[in-house]
Amino acid sequence: MQSYIIIISILILALPLLNFLVLGLADSRFSHKTAGTIGTFGLSIVAILSYITAFNYFFDFGKIDGVYQKFTQSVEWLRFSDTLHIDLGILLDPISVMMLVVISTVSLMVHIYSLGYMKGERGFQRYYAFLSLFTFSMLGLVVATNIFQMYIFWELVGVSSFLLIGFYYTKPSAVKAAKKAFIVTRFADLGFLIGILILSYFTNTFDFGALTDPNGSIIGNPASATFMGFSVLSWATLLIFMGGAGKSAMLPLHIWLPDAMEGPTPVSALIHAATMVVAGVYLVARLFPLYFFVTPDVLTVVAYIGAATSLFAAVVACTQTDIKRVLAFSTISQIAYMMVALGVSGFGGHDGLGYMSSMFHLFTHAFFKALLFLGAGAVIHAVHSNEMGDMGGLRKYLPITHITFLIACLSIAGIPPFSGFFSKDEILVAAFHHDKILFACQYLVAGLTAFYMFRLYFGIFWGKETHYHHTPHEGGVAMSAPLIFLGLLTLVTGFVPFHDLITTNGVSFAAHIDWAIAIPSILVGVAGIAVATVMYKKPSDIPNKVATAFNGFYVATKNKFYFDEIYLFVTKKIIFNCISTPIAWFDRHIVDGFMDFQAFWSNMLSSNIRYLQSGRVQQYVWVFTASAIVIAALVIF
């Protein structure tokens, strides 16, 4: 039975790769239709296979003696030493199977949606090839059996993200955004890599199984060495978290994500909302036992960085006017939510509520955020603009989009019975039991989330009606169907019994909604919505008044607290002008100048020596006479 499911998993990985190779090599030899069909068809098979896997795993044989098992199958790919080798393999456990479902579902939706959204675009085939590459890499990432395999696919998703953000490569802003995304995440990956190196040095393994076994030797007696006052393993896990923070756009490495919205909107839905950006969360979840048992201090750091990020992003989201950027900041905020949940989690049974809720939120968020992005895509498709100012009153023209968008907004605002309510509630419960400050912060963020989401919603679908050049219309079946499907998912996923399926130790526990926390959280959500309704449902000047009242804060927020400028300063001024340019100058003038100087003085010396043999008789005579005189004088005196 095990081998059967492994083979299915291999197929899940192989199909997108095959798609990528076929579509990539054929490129424009395929018509748009063929390419789209091949891509979508391949992905639907992948999705079906993932569902089979998930069903089999969760309900058939995954549970042995009440504990969900880890199934691993791998082959050695590159051998470093006897203990260290990169394996390529497949690891099936609750979170990876859950991720398979999320990725393949969202990816399939995006594939279908793109048939309509990207219709007639130049490079349509390339687009599908890249989508397949991304899907392959992301799937490979989640089923990684060891941390190095994860790193490999981690890089691959980074590159696919780069390629897809820069899809409109003739647009300078897209190129810039792609570069930024890649370099920022690359910088974070450096931390990841160093973390891996440190971890592997002290534990002598890359394998997740060995690293995360709560009864294993690594957690049992961790390396006691310290570096600069912290245990080396803390350094390792912190640096690994840095990699995760980069991918998941945690403060202060978040700056690439808003810019990444330059990519096609379906890509934003797939990569920058539902899947790739949660890789950081997934990474921490994957190594959770290590974090929890060996380096709890780092876990606290994770929680606080998460909390800071979620608050920051929620505040910034309130002032953005580009609808995709609002969603981007909302994504950052929600992912940070998941990080907080991991940070406050314990291990085993009900203590592991944070872990469970984090995964739960990841699951529900993937669907409703993809839905939001695809809805935003439909809006953009209809009005050809990203700016909220160009929209308004669209509910009449885009009914399907309107309804599904509303569902998603209610979900993210935490209104029952939509999925977001359930997962967010669990997170708040976990935070409440762990740390009151974090709880307060997250509670505030919940209210802000409701506010900015409904600001967005009203700004797009209500408000004053702009004059449109042509009547906006829905994008056809290919675009509506995914919206509806994801809308349905948003309605139902909240009822998935996650506490039965995904827990820290594989054992189910009983969880119930803690109304003492749920009711205030619903209230704060409703309050946020109410404020947004007052301010934005009808055109009014309250927003301007508020903005003027908090002018300095508003401007800072609107400029995303100047993070981009700081980075730009650091990269342009410090790295480029203060390091690279001097180095280049130093190389050309000092190092090379030194070499040239040697050549110069050799040349000088030799031409001076040659000067003695100048061929000037008079000089010879002079030297001859002078020497004769000197010698004679020496002889005489």
Binding site: E76, W77, L78, R79, F80, S81, L84, I86, F148, Y151, I152, F153, E155, L156, V159, F162, G166, Y169, T170, K171, P172, V175, K176, A178, K179, F182, I183, R186, F187, D189, L190, L193, I194, L197, I198, S200, Y201, I575, F576, I579, S580, T581, I583, A584, D587, V591, D592, F594, M595, D596, A599
Partner: protein
Amino acid sequence: MNFLYLFVIIPLLMMGGVVLLKSDRAIKIFMLIGSGVLLAASLILLPLFFEARALDPEAAMVMRSDIMWYEALNIKLSLGIDGISVLMIILSAVIVFTGSFVSWAMTEQVKEYFLWFLLLSIGVFGFFITVDLFSMFMFYEIALIPMYLLIGLWGTGRKEYSAMKLTLMLMGGSAFLLLGILGIYFSAGINSMNILEIAQVHIPVEAQNLFFPLTFLGFGVLGALFPFHTWSPDGHASAPTAVSMLHAGVLMKLGGYGCFRVAIYLMPEGAETYTTLFLVLTGISVIYGAFGAVVQKDLKYINAYSSVSHCGLVLFAILMLNQTAMNGAILQMLSHGLMTALFFALIGSIYGRTHTRMITEMGGLMKIMPFLSVCWVIAGLASLGLPGLSGFVSEMTIFVGSFQHDDLFHRVLTIVACASIVITAVYILRVVGKILLGPVQDKHHEALTDAVWYEKIAAVTLIIGIAFIGLLPFLPSEIINDSLTAVISKL
């Protein structure tokens, strides 16, 4: 007769053929066929090597044969290979092959050009197949001299200056090297130039401490060791395409290979004494080369600085003196050889069309020449270490290997060297963003054509090599590991 002789005889015969042929076209076709034969021979060598290895699993080198050259000093032309040399020979053959293809566009003094080109490849092949210090040195010099003429006559820009600089600096390096070799020869005291025989005896530690730095520096100059790397940007920038390819792709590897085969293998204690110093230098090379590449505007300069960085990593890993890191170093040589050759081939192709190498004067080439651009992106991704391409494998092997060193200093240095992957990403993406993506910069460029057959063959061959190492790293890695034991056992 030893199969290895073929690698000197085939180019020699080809030189004869080139001399006899009249028309340029015939010479070029002849070169393509000849280099194809060389490539085939290098691939045939692989099974032959395995066979010989199976017969004699203990020996450090197989397929040995000696010819006495100079009785009085016991100088022999000793041939012998191990897995590492085989891989290097294949690398050289691939690059000579692709180099011949990209030279198709050559129009001036074709016959002379190919004669020197072949002489250069004789030097390269000869270096990899011999195990005799004297012959190695001789082939090393044979490989250096043609560079002067190839750059000085067929180059672009400040070619005389660059050719002079390159030759003089490398010659300076080989002066150190000669001292080192003589030192090894005399302090070993067995009247033999054969590396294998010298490896059997223990060179006194004082002598090692004296001659290791000389030998290492001698080879290090060729391996672009900071601060002796400055010939590289100028030399590469001026050299004609195929020469840049061969030079960066293979000749710079002679440095790393020599450090490994001569300096470390014969003088392990000396190596240990000096690792700290040279590690710092190579560490500087790695970071410094990468930073240097960030601000350059000329494509060839960018690639030359990136070569400094990558070749620095080779020497860096060799100095870590452990099996994994050395394995990574050899992989990095292969990987960098293929990658940089691809880069130079593409730069040549782009330059041949746009007549500029300044990244500020180009833009949007992706739309105009998609094939070349995609190849460029692949080369760039390989260079910044994308998994699935060769750069990742070699860099990771180096980093993991280096980090296994028990000394904290070495590990900290490794972390510093790791930082180069970010900087590499910066300069690669900068170039990709500037020249390939974005709007078309120069309206005249819109009429340009994409790659033609010979460029396609060259690029595809190199990409296959890059992908092969990237996807199946365990194949070369096993061959290397197997051959490393001889060196490791001496440490």
